[in-house]
């Protein structure tokens, strides 16, 4: 199994969720994060004091799927999350060795709903 973590722009979440649904993924976990990358943040002014806000709000979407689904999922996310502007985000893929469904104790493939 693979864990796919996509860091995307927050307002793309709805689109990504729909795209994932379309390729058969229904389980996912979302975290609010802040990112720093090429998209450099911005300066904010408070009463004339200039502050660098280095971190931009991002949303991390985490999906665990079986190996053969990875390409579809990655493609779906890339399609749905792309706006073509800097800061669109990144996708990272790693290996998961075990998955367990807490409710039933089912393991691995059966655990991924």
């Amino acid at each position: 199994m693979k864990m796919i973590r996509a860091i995307i722009k927050p307002f793309k979440l709805d689109d990504v969720k729909d795209a994932l649904g379309a390729v058969g993924v229904s389980g996912l976990t979302v975290t609010e994060v802040r990112g720093h990358g090429r998209q450099k943040g911005h300066t904010e002014l408070y009463r004339g004091a200039e502050y660098n806000v280095d971190f931009v709000p991002k949303t991390e979407v985490m999906i665990v799927v079986e190996d053969e689904q990875v390409d579809d999922v990655v493609e779906a996310v890339v399609e749905a999350a792309r706006s073509g502007k800097v800061g669109d985000g990144k996708i990272f893929v790693s290996t998961i060795e075990r998955a367990i469904r807490i409710r039933t104790g089912e393991a691995d493939a059966d655990a991924l709903s």
Binding site: E44, L45, Y46, R47, G48, A49, Y51, V53
Partner: protein, 429 residues
């Protein structure tokens, strides 16, 4: 409040003759009393929760509760001290510099005691709300780093050693009032006083760790907005209440208060829009307060045109003070107690001399006063306040530093005052 005080002076003997526990029905005006009951509630609203939110929204999350706690407990402490001897020191006869202790513990002030057309208890409570807000204004300069015990001790001593005498000078029969200084609702007594004390605090305590390198963004600007709005609304009680009556001057005071605040919102906002390309809510809120501060000394003396001019100036000058001046001088007046209240108060005190003149739509200067001579009196009042306040505040801080220490420890400041001083956190799930 100046000319009111003399009214009271005239009425006082009558009030004293009245048996203290019976209604002095002949002099009490229920309309004036109704308005002053309301005005007192409005001024308290400025501090609780007004200032607590205005300031609390601008600090970092880890210090929100400490600001609220300082506000609430200073308010409580000042109230009790006002009863004990603060009111007496400010408003009993005494000499030109300070009152005496004849009204300590409100001796002789009963249900039937009158102060002009309103009960003296009410006058004293109204004045109490001024004695509450002034020390709370100062905390803006030292939030996020001062020990809670030191905050309380400082506020208590400052009330008696700085606020009470200056209040007496201007409103209690002291030398500045006698000299003809115009301060309708507290430009000098409250705002310059608090602003200067704040500046001294900022200098003596030093900068917050990380200032100005780290981003110290306001934690929640909605709180600041609510605070601004409640300050604004409450300020109607502050200014129009300082007439101590529900009459034409009170009506005009309310109108000019609104106009100056509005104009200062616009001038600060547009200045920011031009200079920094974006008009911000924090700027608009700051402008509102700057305008309200500046109209305070003028509110019973000027007309709408004067108010427009005062608001315009206050917005621009304070904007410059908190952005350019502060950066240049490099002190960390965290929430701009000096930049808004000190500077705005001075702008207002000076312009009062100008726009009080009948030719510019004002109520007219006292007999024998010219705009120039009035300006000199105003400068004298500002000067006396600045020098006395700065000197005594400095000494008090140094003594308290020896006794208790002023600043929390390095790690406590890093972790935040909420947890380390009060054992609480502002949010939980």
């Amino acid at each position: 409040m100046k000319h009111i005080i003399s009214k009271i002076g005239l009425l006082l003997p009558a009030a004293l003759l009245a048996p203290s526990m019976a209604f002095a029905e002949d002099t009490l005006n229920s309309g004036d009393t109704a308005w002053m009951l309301t005005a007192t509630a409005l001024v308290l609203l400025m501090t609780l929760p007004g200032l607590a939110l205005f300031y609390g929204g601008m600090v970092r999350k880890k210090n929100v509760l400490s600001v609220a706690m300082q506000t609430l407990s200073i308010a409580a402490l000042m109230s009790v001290l006002w009863i004990v001897c603060g009111y007496s020191l400010a408003f009993s006869e005494g000499n030109a510099f300070i009152g005496d202790l004849s009204k300590a513990f409100f001796a002789g002030v009963g249900v039937g005691s009158m102060s002009g057309t309103i009960p003296e208890t009410l006058f004293a409570t109204f004045q109490m709300t001024f004695a509450i807000i002034t020390p709370v204004l100062i905390i803006g300069a030292f939030v996020e780093r001062m020990k809670f015990s030191a905050v309380l001790l400082f506020s208590a001593v400052w009330l008696l050693a700085v606020y009470a005498p200056i209040c007496h000078w201007v409103w209690g029969g002291g030398f500045l009032g006698d000299a003809g200084a115009l301060d309708f609702a507290g430009g000098t007594v409250v705002h310059i006083n608090a602003g200067v004390a704040g500046l001294v605090c900022a200098l003596v305590l030093g900068k917050r760790i990380g200032y100005p390198k780290e981003a110290m963004l306001p934690h929640n600007l909605t709180y600041t907005l609510i605070g601004t709005a409640l300050l604004w609304v409450g300020w109607f009680g502050f200014n129009a209440g300082s007439e101590l009556a529900a009459d034409g001057t009170a009506g005009m005071a309310m109108l000019v208060t609104q106009v100056a605040a509005a104009m200062a919102v616009l001038s600060w906002t547009f200045a920011e829009w031009i200079v920094y390309k974006k008009p911000s809510l924090l700027g608009a809120c700051s402008g509102a307060i700057a305008g309200l501060v500046a109209i305070t000394p003028a509110s019973g003396f000027v007309g709408p045109i004067g108010a427009l001019a005062i608001g315009l100036s206050a917005g621009l000058v304070c904007f410059w003070a908190v952005s350019a001046l502060k950066r240049k001088l490099g002190y960390d007046d965290s929430l701009d107690a000096f930049g808004v209240h000190g500077v705005g108060g001075i702008v207002g005190a000076l312009l009062t001399a100008v726009f009080a003149s009948a030719g510019l739509g004002g109520a007219g200067l006292a007999e024998g006063m010219t705009m120039g001579s009035q300006l000199m009196v105003q400068i004298e009042a500002i000067g006396a306040t600045v020098v006395y306040c700065a000197a005594v505040t400095f000494v008090l801080l140094k003594i308290i530093d020896l006794l208790l220490g002023l600043r929390v420890e390095h790690d406590q400041e890093r972790e935040g005052l909420d947890i380390t001083q009060h054992g609480e956190q502002v949010y939980d799930k």
